[in-house]
């Protein structure tokens, strides 16, 4: 591979994770945060930093750049489908935050209560600790026997149609930006 093509690959690898993460985090702000409940101890905006790190890492890991003199191909894998629940098997090495966001992205039909492991005896409910959802009807039925707050409100993202196109972003500005920087770098040499 020529030096200039190596330069192009380096530019893509450096620029892509940040560009894509920024765009997705903007969508997160615009399309998810407005729906959250301010009183929810597991509200998605508390997961912002963790989600950003998750995106940056997985985009870098999945970035596949093939540049040849005959043509170039850039495949950008966004996120980890298994951790977000976007494939057959859920990767259990995920975190509460990623599970919460993955659930919101997929949407959910019906009313649910978000249970966290620390939510007993009226203590402040933990943000972490393997959260899970229980159908409202089942929760109300079982809460007293488990010492949970029987009046806990239903999760704000219940009956939420999801954001199925969350990962679909316009990459044209990225291509323009990389092309410009590539041109500048070539000129400077």
């Amino acid at each position: 591979m020529s030096r200039s093509l190596r330069l192009l690959e380096k530019l893509i690898r450096e620029e892509a994770p940040k560009f894509i993460t920024d765009r997705l985090m903007q969508k997160f702000e615009d399309e998810i945060v407005p729906f959250e409940d301010d009183n929810d101890p597991a509200k998605p905006s508390l997961c912002k930093d963790e989600f950003r790190t998750f995106l940056e890492e997985t985009i870098s890991e999945n970035l596949n750049v093939t540049i040849t003199t005959g043509g170039s191909e850039v495949k950008i894998g966004i996120g980890d489908a298994n951790k977000l629940g976007l494939s057959a098997e859920l990767n259990e090495n995920t975190t509460d935050c990623i599970k919460i966001i993955g659930t919101i992205l997929s949407g959910i039909v019906g009313s649910y209560v978000l249970v966290t492991i620390d939510m007993t005896e009226g203590d402040p409910e933990g943000r972490f600790g393997r959260a899970f959802l229980v159908a409202e009807k089942q929760y109300r039925l079982e809460a007293p026997s488990k010492g949970w707050d029987p009046n806990k409100p239903i999760w704000k993202f219940s009956n939420f149609p999801g954001v199925p196109d969350f990962f679909e972003i316009d990459l044209n500005p990225f291509i323009e930006s990389v092309t410009k920087k590539f041109g500048e770098a070539l000129t400077a040499r």
Binding site: G85, L86, L90, I100, V109, K146, P164
Partner: protein, 274 residues
């Protein structure tokens, strides 16, 4: 009715009768119960009392109103009211002629003018609910399919006055178990991938009237100077709701609408002449 609604209706019709026709079930000899409150001496209403689950008349289901041969679908050019999908019996088990009653296909009712006394009915019904909106899934019971056209653009040709109209859509699948989800997903995928369906004009409305009876004014007619509705970019995706994964503890998860889900994304497009 604007074009988007017509295309949406055409898509529903195609899914119902050309793809999901494998999921038509028969309910035999179901007792008919007279409903005095909504009957008059010349219009006697009988409700089929089915014990089937999911209920054949739950939202998005209903009785089959066209004669359908599973696997072959329907013949688009002639779509009269069914002759073989609903059979009504009197108390002696004799078949009552179809000219003696009307059928409310949505609510599962038989309406007579009082000249006959229906006692039971055998009918075919749609096993898979086909709902319009995400919210409707709660009112139905799995399996449910929700077709949704979510965005579109209209692109002019480089030459001439015509347009290409791509509409992006999704089929949301909610099933009662893994096998059902997989079967439904593959059936739907194969049913639209590289296929097309007529772009109907619905000149005199849809096939059922507001009261659930067959609309005899229905006219099969495609939109002039428009191509058929074609499908591309069909993709299947299974959906696992991460928060539904309950950690080990003394808690059982009841059956749930969200447990077995999948999604088929597609682009539906057609050409319009200028």
């Amino acid at each position: 009715m604007k074009k988007l609604r017509k295309e949406d209706l055409s898509l529903h019709h195609c899914i119902r009768f050309n793809i999901l026709d494998e999921y038509i079930e028969t309910d035999y000899n179901v007792p008919l119960q007279y409903l005095p409150d909504i009957s008059t001496p010349t219009s006697m209403v009988y409700q089929a009392v089915s014990t089937r689950l999911p209920s054949p008349t739950s939202l998005g289901r209903g009785w089959v109103y066209l004669d359908v041969v599973p696997g072959s679908g329907i013949i688009y050019e002639s779509m009269p009211e069914q002759q073989n999908m609903v059979v009504v019996y009197d108390s002696l088990g004799g078949v009552i002629s179809g000219s003696e009653y009307m059928v409310d296909y949505v609510d599962g009712r038989v309406i007579t003018s009082g000249t006959v006394s229906p006692a039971a009915v055998t009918y075919r019904y749609f096993y898979v609910a086909l709902c319009n909106d995400w919210e409707d899934v709660i009112a139905s019971d799995v399996p449910v399919v929700v077709p949704a056209l979510e965005s579109f653009s209209k692109e002019g040709f480089q030459l001439g006055g015509g347009r290409l109209v791509p509409r992006r859509g999704r089929l949301y699948i909610f099933a009662s178990n893994q096998a059902e989800r997989d079967d439904l997903a593959e059936l739907l995928y194969d049913g639209i991938n590289q296929r097309c369906c007529p772009n109907q004009n619905w000149t005199h409305g849809s096939m059922l009237d507001w009261d659930g009876t067959f609309n005899h004014n229905y006219l099969y007619e495609v939109i002039q100077y428009h191509s058929q509705l074609q499908f591309e970019n069909v993709n299947y995706r299974m959906i696992t709701i991460p928060l539904m994964s309950i950690p080990t503890r003394d808690m059982t998860m009841l059956s749930d609408l969200n447990r077995y889900r999948a999604r088929v994304d597609f682009t539906m497009f057609h050409w319009e002449e200028g």
